[in-house]
C-alpha cells in the first residue's frame, strides 16, 4: 500500500505544523499556486507505521550478510551516526563563519590528514560528494594540469576494459575521448596493448588496484612507468582501497590522483544508495588544482580555503561544503580504528575473501582467476553451470535471497561471463561465512537437481521476480489516483 492510499482529506499530523495559517495575501495572485500538491494527508502514527513497515522490506547490513563485490558493505558503527548527529553539528549553517565551527573544522582537518597518510598523497580535498564526483574532480585536475602546461594535444583517457562504468563516463564529462585496453588471462592490464596505446595524445590512465577482477595488478610499476614516460598522469580509482588499507599506499605506486569512497572504506552508511563522499588525494604537481573547499589550519585556527586561496582550482563540486555529515562519520570511524585498526582492515578483508574463495573452490565452484590470490574480493563464474542446467548467475543470486543472504554483484565485471563478484569485508565472522558457503553449496545442488526451482527464485521476499521490461516500456514513475 502506498502512503497516498493511507491519505484521508482533512487528516494531518498537527503537532508538526505552525498552529495557524499565516496571512500571505500580500503576495501577487498571478505568482501563487491554486491547486494543492499531492502530499499525503495522514496522522503522525500513520506515517511512522508506514515507513517503519517499508524499512522492514529491505535487506541491509544490520540485518543480513551483504557480500556485494566492489561495494564494501561492512558494519557501520552506530557511534559514527549518533555523534555526527549531535545537535550543534546539525544546527550549524554552511555559511556560518569559521569561528562558529572550530570543533567541526578540526575534525575535518584531522580527517584530511588521516586520508593523506593512508593514501600517501601530498594533498586531499574532501569536496566531492560521491565516488563518481571524485572521479570527475580527479580527471578535471588531470585536464587542468595539461592545460596549464599548454599541452592541449592530450585528449585521450585510457581505461582497462574491466573498469567501472563511471570511469569512461567521467572521462567524457571532462571532454576527453576514451580508449579501452584489454586485460590479460591473469587479470592484469595487457602491457603490450598499453604500450601501443600511449603517446603524446595520452592525458592519463584510470586504474583500479586491486582491480575489479579482485586481483592486485602485479605490473603496476611497469604501468606507472609506461604512462608517465608518455607524459600521461595516473588516476587511482579508490573503489577497492579497503583491500590495501594500511598495507600499500597508492602514492607509493606512483599515482598522481586518487579518489576514495568513504562509504566503502571508511564505513559511512550506503543509505539505500547515498549519500556518499568521494574525497580526492593528489600528488605535488596537482596541488594547485584541487577542488575547493579545502580545510586549513594556521595560528591555532581552522578555516576553509576557497577560490581566492587556490586560484588554479578546478572549482566547486557542490553549493556548500560537500557531504559534511558523511565526512564527520568517516572521521569518527577513523578515530575508533586508529592506526592499529586501519592496518587490520586490509588484513581481515583479505583473509575473509581468501577463505571464502578456498571453500567455494573446494565446493566445486569455478574461480575466474584460479591461479591468483584474492584481494578483498574475487569472482566465480557460473558459465559451465548455465550451459549444463540453464541456471544463470542472476537466478543463483535471486535464490541466495531466499536463504537470507544478499546477492553478490552480478554480471560485473562485464568480461567474465555469468559472474558473481563476492566481497565479504573484514567485519564478518567465520560462522557467517560458513553459513553463506552452505547456502552456496545447497543452491549448486538445487541447480543440478531442480533447475526450475532456482530459476523461479526468490520465493520468500515481499515480491517475486519483477518484470523489468514492463517497467521500462510502460513507464510508471509517478502514482496516479
Amino acid at each position: 500500500m502506498l502512503i497516498f492510499e493511507h491519505s484521508r482529506p482533512g487528516r494531518a499530523a498537527h503537532a508538526q505544523m505552525p498552529e495557524h495559517a499565516a496571512d500571505v495575501s500580500d503576495l501577487p495572485a498571478h505568482l501563487m499556486r491554486t491547486d494543492a500538491p499531492r502530499l499525503p494527508e495522514a496522522s503522525e502514527m500513520d506515517v511512522v507505521r508506514h515507513y517503519t513497515r517499508l524499512s522492514q522490506k529491505n535487506f541491509s547490513i544490520d540485518t543480513q550478510f551483504y557480500p556485494l563485490g566492489s561495494c564494501t558493505m561492512k558494519y557501520n558503527p552506530r557511534a559514527c551516526n549518533s555523534l555526527a548527529m549531535l545537535p550543534q553539528f546539525l544546527a550549524r549553517h554552511p555559511h556560518a563563519p569559521a569561528e562558529t565551527g572550530q570543533g567541526f573544522l578540526a575534525s575535518m582537518y584531522e580527517l584530511q590528514e588521516i586520508l593523506k597518510d593512508v593514501t600517501g598523497m601530498a594533498g586531499v580535498s574532501m569536496a566531492p560528494m560521491a565516488g563518481a564526483q571524485g572521479e570527475f574532480a580527479g580527471v578535471s585536475m588531470i585536464r587542468a594540469y595539461h592545460d596549464a602546461r599548454n599541452d592541449h594535444a592530450r585528449r585521450e583517457i585510457i581505461v582497462p576494459n574491466a573498469a567501472h562504468g563511471t570511469n569512461p563516463a567521467t572521462a567524457v564529462m571532462c571532454g576527453y575521448t576514451v580508449r579501452e585496453i584489454p586485460t590479460d588471462r591473469e587479470g592484469d592490464v595487457d602491457l603490450e596493448a598499453l604500450r601501443a596505446a600511449v603517446g603524446p595524445h595520452t592525458a592519463g590512465l584510470m586504474l583500479t588496484n586491486p582491480s575489479t577482477l579482485g586481483v592486485f595488478e602485479k605490473k603496476i610499476q611497469d604501468i606507472q612507468k609506461i604512462v608517465h614516460d608518455a607524459g600521461g598522469l595516473l588516476y587511482y580509482d579508490g573503489a577497492n582501497l579497503n583491500a590495501i588499507l594500511g598495507r600499500v599506499k597508492p602514492g607509493d605506486m606512483g599515482f598522481d590522483v586518487i579518489h576514495m569512497n568513504l562509504h566503502k572504506t571508511f564505513s559511512t552508511p550506503h543509505g539505500g544508495g547515498g549519500p556518499g563522499a568521494g574525497p580526492v588525494g593528489v600528488s605535488e604537481r596537482l596541488l594547485p588544482f584541487m577542488p575547493v573547499p579545502v580545510v586549513t589550519h594556521d595560528k591555532g585556527r581552522y578555516r576553509l580555503l576557497v577560490e581566492a586561496d587556490i586560484p588554479q582550482s578546478i572549482g566547486r563540486m557542490s553549493a556548500n561544503n560537500g557531504n559534511a555529515g558523511v565526512l564527520l562519520r568517516a572521521y569518527i570511524y577513523a578515530r575508533m580504528l586508529g592506526a592499529e585498526g586501519m592496518h587490520r582492515v586490509a588484513d581481515f578483508a583479505t583473509l575473509n575473501a581468501n577463505y571464502l574463495l578456498a571453500e567455494l573452490k573446494k565446493a566445486g565452484f569455478d574461480i575466474a582467476f584460479p591461479t591468483r590470490r584474492a584481494s578483498h574480493e574475487f569472482i566465480i563464474t557460473l558459465k559451465k553451470l548455465k550451459d549444463e542446467t540453464g541456471v544463470t548467475a542472476m537466478d543463483f543470486a535471486k535464490r541466495l535471497l531466499d536463504y537470507g543472504y544478499h546477492a553478490p554483484t552480478t554480471y560485473f565485471p562485464l568480461l567474465v561471463p555469468e559472474c558473481l563478484l563476492i566481497e565479504p569485508t573484514e567485519t564478518e565472522s567465520m560462522e557467517t561465512l560458513d553459513g553463506f558457503i552452505t547456502a552456496m553449496k545447497t543452491i549448486l545442488a538445487e541447480a543440478r537437481s531442480n533447475p526450475d526451482l532456482v530459476k523461479g527464485a526468490p520465493y520468500t521476499q515481499p515480491v517475486r521476480r519483477l518484470d523489468d521490461v514492463k517497467a521500462a516500456r510502460e513507464l510508471d514513475l509517478v502514482w496516479k489516483r
Binding site: A21, A22, D26, H30, R33, R38, L39, P40, K57, N58, S60, Y66, K74, N76, N81, M85, Q88, F89, L90, H93, H95, A96, Q102, D117, A132, G165, A169, M173, K218, I220, Q221, V248, K249, H270, G271, G272, G273, G274, P275, R316, M317, A319, N320, N323, V326, A334, R335, M336, G338, E359, L401, H406, A407, F412, S429, L466, D467, A471, L477, V478
Partner: protein, 459 residues
C-alpha cells in the same frame, strides 16, 4: 579488535583452509617494494567512550546561534520521527536497490518521493535525486543542451545563486557549453526579459524565488524563452512551492525541467551536507534525465512491485555514452524528505511556507525601521530579502555574532555593486521574540558605531 570478530582460533582455522602460513602471506603478489602501509599520522584508537567525549567537547565548542542566514540552506523544524525512522538500520545500512526483491522498502519510498516531487513542481516525472541543488542545476544544464538540437548555450541570470553558478561552470566547462549571464534590474532585484538578440540558446534558467529572495515574473520569462525555441529550467525552493505557482504551470506551456535544493524538506543544516538535489521534468525529456529512476511494475504473479528502470541511460550500462557519470542518489536524505513531506502534508507545508514568509515580512519591517537600514529591492519576496546598512556589513555581522546572532549572508563579495548588503531570512522557526532581539541588537550596534569611532568598537 574494533569491528573485527575473529578469534585467534578462527584466524588459524581460516589460514589452514586457505593453505597460507600467515595473513602476511596473503599479500605475496604485491611487489615487495610497495608493501609499506606504515601510518605515521593516524592517531591510536579511541574507544567509543573516548570518542564520545571528544565529539561532545567539539560540538559544545561550536555552540548554538540564533540563525538568520538562508542563501540556499534553510533552518526548518524537523519532526523527531523523520530521522528516527531514516536511521533505522534497514534504511541506513542498505545499498543501492539493485536486488529489487530485497529492496522493496527503499524502492517504494523513492516511488512515493518521485510522486511527491512531480506534484510539488507540477511536472510529469522525477528522478530519485542528485547530489545537491548546485550540481543538480549543472546536470539540468547538460540535459537541456543534450535535448536541444542547436547551440550549446544557456542563459543564466545573475539572480541565480553565485555558488550555484560557480558549480555549474566547474562541471560543464570542459564540454564546451557557453553560459551567458543576464543582469538583474537594480530596482526590483529580478531578471528582466532580455531585449537584445540572444541568438540561439538551449535553455533559460529561472530561479524562483531568486537568490535575493525576490519573486521573478516567471510566466513572462517562460513564454519568452519558449518563443525563442529554448527550454526553461526552473530553479525552485521546494518549501515555497506549497504557496507559489508550480513550474509546470509557468507561462503558457510550463517550465520543462525543475531542479533545486531538497535540504529544506527535512535535512538539517549540518555545515552543508548531506543534502540532495531534486529534478523533475516533462515526460518528453525523461530519457535525457540523469540519475536513478524507480518505476512500478509487476512480479511473476502479477503483484505490483518497484524496480530501478531506464537503466540504459546510466554509466554501468552505457559507459562512455551515459547521460551522466552519476551512480548514486542521496538515498538516505531522500528517505528523510519523503517522511518529512508525509508528516507535513499539503496543509503543513503550506503553513511552514506562509509562516516563513510572514516572519520575514515582520523582520523586514522591524529592520527597515532602524536608522541606517533600508530594503534594497522592490519586488515581492518569499522568505528572504536584501537589506543595506550604513556600516561595513562584515563588521556588523561579527558584532551580531558576538551577541549569539548570525545576522545573514554578506553579499558584498559576490555583489559589490550592492554596497553593504546582507541577505536575511526568517523561517517558521523564529519567534516574535527572536525577531525583536535581532532588530534591537542591530539598532544598538549601528547606533553605537555612530557614537564611537569604529576602531574603538569591540563588542
Amino acid at each position: 579488535m574494533p569491528f573485527i570478530p575473529h578469534t585467534e582460533h578462527d584466524i588459524q582455522a581460516m589460514l589452514a583452509a586457505i593453505g597460507a602460513p600467515s595473513i602476511d602471506a596473503l599479500f605475496d603478489e604485491i611487489p615487495a617494494a610497495l608493501r609499506n602501509g606504515k601510518l605515521t599520522k593516524v592517531p591510536t584508537a579511541l574507544s567509543e567512550m573516548e570518542i564520545n567525549r571528544l565529539m561532545q567537547e567539539r560540538a559544545e565548542a561550536d555552540g548554538r546561534y540564533l540563525n538568520f542566514i538562508g542563501a540556499g540552506a534553510y533552518e526548518h523544524h524537523i519532526p523527531a520521527a523523520v530521522w528516527q525512522i531514516t536511521t533505522r538500520g534497514e534504511f541506513y545500512s542498505a545499498y543501492t536497490p539493485y536486488q529489487a526483491e530485497a529492496s522493496q522498502g527503499t524502492l517504494q519510498l523513492i516511488y512515493e518521493y518521485q510522486t511527491m516531487m512531480a506534484s510539488l513542481t507540477g511536472l510529469d516525472v522525477s528522478n530519485a535525486s542528485l547530489y545537491d541543488g548546485g550540481s543538480g542545476l549543472a546536470e539540468a544544464v547538460l540535459m537541456a543542451v543534450r535535448a536541444h538540437k542547436g547551440a550549446a548555450r544557456v542563459l543564466m541570470p545573475r539572480t541565480v545563486s553565485p555558488v550555484y553558478r560557480a558549480v555549474v561552470r566547474g562541471i560543464v566547462k570542459n564540454q564546451l557549453i557557453e553560459i551567458i549571464e543576464l543582469d538583474y534590474d537594480p530596482a526590483t532585484g529580478t531578471t528582466p526579459v532580455p531585449t537584445a538578440d540572444m541568438g540561439d540558446f538551449a535553455a533559460l534558467v529561472v530561479s524562483q524565488p531568486n537568490f535575493f529572495g525576490a519573486l521573478e515574473e516567471v510566466d513572462t520569462l517562460t513564454d519568452w524563452a519558449h518563443a525563442h525555441g529554448a527550454r526553461v529550467i526552473a530553479l525552485v525552493n521546494p518549501t515555497s512551492l506549497a504557496l507559489l505557482k508550480a513550474p509546470g504551470q509557468w507561462g503558457a506551456k510550463g517550465a520543462d525541467i525543475a531542479v533545486g535544493e531538497g535540504q529544506p524538506l527535512g535535512a538539517p543544516l549540518s555545515s552543508g551536507g548531506p543534502y540532495y538535489g531534486f529534478m523533475t521534468c516533462k515526460q518528453e525529456l525523461v530519457r535525457q534525465m540523469p540519475g536513478r529512476i524507480v518505476g512500478r511494475t509487476v512480479d511473476l504473479d502479477g503483484k505490483p512491485g518497484f524496480a530501478l528502470t531506464l537503466q540504459a541511460r546510466e554509466q554501468h550500462i552505457r559507459r562512455s555514452k551515459a547521460t551522466s557519470n552519476i551512480c548514486t542518489n542521496q538515498g538516505l536524505v531522500v528517505t528523510a524528505s519523503t517522511i518529512y513531506m508525509s508528516l507535513l502534508g499539503p496543509e503543513g507545508l503550506k503553513r511552514v511556507a506562509a509562516a516563513s514568509h510572514a516572519n520575514t515580512r515582520v523582520l523586514l519591517e522591524k529592520l527597515s525601521a532602524i536608522a541606517g537600514v533600508k530594503r534594497v529591492f522592490s519586488a515581492h519576496c518569499f522568505h528572504e530579502a536584501v537589506i543595506q546598512i550604513d556600516a561595513p556589513a562584515g563588521e556588523v555581522l561579527r558584532a551580531l555574532q558576538a551577541q549569539g546572532i548570525l545576522g545573514g549572508y554578506d553579499l558584498s563579495g559576490h555583489y559589490p555593486e550592492l554596497g553593504n548588503a546582507i541577505l536575511v531570512c526568517a523561517t517558521e522557526t523564529k519567534t516574535a521574540a527572536d525577531l525583536d532581539l535581532y532588530a534591537q541588537q542591530l539598532a544598538r550596534i549601528l547606533s553605537k558605531r555612530r557614537e564611537a569611532p569604529p576602531c574603538a568598537y569591540k563588542s
